[in-house]
């Protein structure tokens, strides 16, 4: 599904990713953990194609296709989805209209007609019920005045609507209370299948109790310094990151 080879990226003069190697197969859940400033969000943004970051070395492949020079919208059309840590507020554009635009733009890119209004409504109803989203919520302006939890739930709703091949959840658990966390995690689990993959970026082990990863990677100073199974997350929770930092020095 996703293959990252020796990826280096920088913003302006600052090198943030310093040689990332990662393979994610269909059907897998990978967790990426690590201290603040280790490059987790940068990695997510680079996979999604944010132009602010310059890839100086290495490649990202999606289903064997090199994504070099591929715009964020084209990556979305190919099936990459990034759930934002800080979703942006768009006043005057309702959640429903935003999703219609996003879905129909994707269809257009694939040479398909707009989705019939009836099907769109059905899809919206189905997915909003799954995430326990109130109908009124859908007619509100996108993210405007949403609580932290509502914003994150709305991100997963968008993921459900767009049905990506590869979903990257960037700190989706931050700002969520335990009930919201459960709803969001349930949503992600329902969307999981043998044909898609999920990368969960998080600080804490908490989310991983609900979305159980097949692999856990620790990112430090722009490199993956340790990989393991879900037990690694528990170890990190217990010991913190300092022991890893020391190990790296040695």
């Amino acid at each position: 599904m996703l293959k990252i080879n020796n990826l280096h990226a920088r913003v302006e003069d600052k090198e943030i990713l310093k040689g990332i190697n990662l393979t994610v197969n269909a059907g897998e859940v990978h967790a990426i953990m690590g201290p603040n400033g280790s490059g987790k969000s940068t990695l997510a943004a680079v996979i999604a194609g944010k132009e602010e970051f310059e890839v100086t070395e290495g490649e990202v492949f999606l289903e064997g296709e090199n994504l070099e020079d591929t715009s964020p919208e084209d990556r979305a059309h190919k099936g990459i989805f990034l759930s934002f840590q800080y979703p942006v507020e768009i006043p005057g554009v309702s959640v429903t209209n935003f999703m219609k635009t996003a879905i129909n733009e994707s269809r257009k890119a694939k040479g398909l007609e707009d989705m019939p209004a009836k099907d769109m409504l059905k899809l919206i109803r189905e997915k909003s019920e799954m995430l326990e989203i109130d109908r009124k919520f859908l007619s509100r302006s996108l993210n405007e005045g949403f609580s932290g939890g509502e914003k994150k739930r709305n991100e997963i709703f968008q993921m459900a609507m767009l049905e990506p091949k590869l979903a990257i959840l960037d700190e989706t658990d931050s700002g969520l209370d335990i009930d919201a966390l459960r709803i969001v995690a349930n949503g992600v689990n329902k969307l999981k299948s043998k044909d898609n993959a999920v990368i969960v970026i998080t600080h804490y082990q908490r989310l991983l109790e609900y979305i159980v990863p097949d692999f856990v990677h620790v990112l430090h100073n722009g490199k993956i310094v340790k990989s393991g199974t879900k037990d690694l997350a528990l170890e990190l929770e217990e010991k913190g990151y300092d022991w890893l930092k020391q190990e790296t020095v040695i």
Partner: protein, 438 residues
Amino acid sequence: MDLKEKLVSSFLAFENGVDLDHPVHDIRTEAIKNFETKGFPTKKEEAWKYTSLNTLQKIDFSIFPKKESMLEYRDVKKYFIHEIDTYKIVFVDGVYSSFLSETTHDGVDVCLMSSALNKPMYKQIIDVYFNKIASKDDSLTSLNTAFSREGAYIYIPKNKIPKKPIEIVHFSTGNEAALLLQPRNLIIAEENAEMQIIERHQSLTSNEVFTNSVTEIYAAKNSNVDYYKVQNDLTTASLIDNTYIDQKDGSVVKVHTFSFGGKLTRNNLNFYQNGERINSTMKGVTIIEEKQHVDHHTLVHHIQPNCESHQDYKGIYGENATGVFNGKIIVDKIAQKTNAFQQNNNILVSDKATINTKPQLEIFADDVKCSHGCTIGQLDEEALFYLQSRGIPKKEARALLMYAFANNVLESVRIPELKVRINKLIANKLGVRLGFDL
């Protein structure tokens, strides 16, 4: 001969066509003297620092159109809010078109300035209102006053509401190589009266047009006036809009200005709060590109206590476009408990576009709430990435963000069909087809 000389010498010819014994003619005579003394404003004047009329003055404008022009409704239908029934006061090259208009005297007067000036039954109202709130000092207003004889005349008596919105539309056909138009509107809402007006100036060919318009609005006690200005003209059309509004106790007047096109557009919007518990609202969306220029000069004079004013102007400037916003608020010493709010936000889409924005507050009372803010920025890159990451192409994403930026100004538009039209104009301006009806 420069334009000023031409205008001054044309006044004699103009006098041949009007009633010299009417009291209004004394007002005209005074006005031409003021214009002759002052001439066109120059960039040396603070209020005209960023807007030059030099190029316009070099054009040989016809002051009186010679030929009559006919327009078919089907050819100009799109410039009306044709989805709904409206009263229409339509002028073609400055001449009233009864064929395209729909006026009324059924309980309210929606008709012509020329009738109001010529018919004895209106004499009393003209005596009371004509040129009373308009500036006698401003040279362009004086120029309009001197040549005033045609425009819209709207009189809504006490407790009346017209059955439908009123459209005032000025077409120019290009029958003259270059045409100067000077419409003069008088709009009166008596106590508790209400009305909605949509004004548009539309050039139909690329021949030069220069409109110097003056509108006086009198809003009596507890009256309610909604005024929408749609400025989406060709790049050979220039407009100077001078609007003066006199408000009495408890009246609400809202003016929305949508500036989407024109060579040079200057809006002088002046509110005078002659009463208490008054609400004056000014909203504007400006989206221009090429070498277009839009200048908003607003004035709110808080003369009495317990009133409010709200100003919210959004501007999006592309290519070599230039914009100006100057918001002047005067709060007199006795105008305590005034609540004045002013905001001007701008996005520069190109490196070559410019905006000059300036709040100008003169506050003489000590118990008031006045706030103002202006911003100049670019589109938020993070927001752009967010939309793109959902599969929305960059161009559409930019448009969506610009739409969102301007959106809250549209919320207060109370004619739904007009709102739809403005939304379409915005989508058109931004060059996109979005996946839903804007």
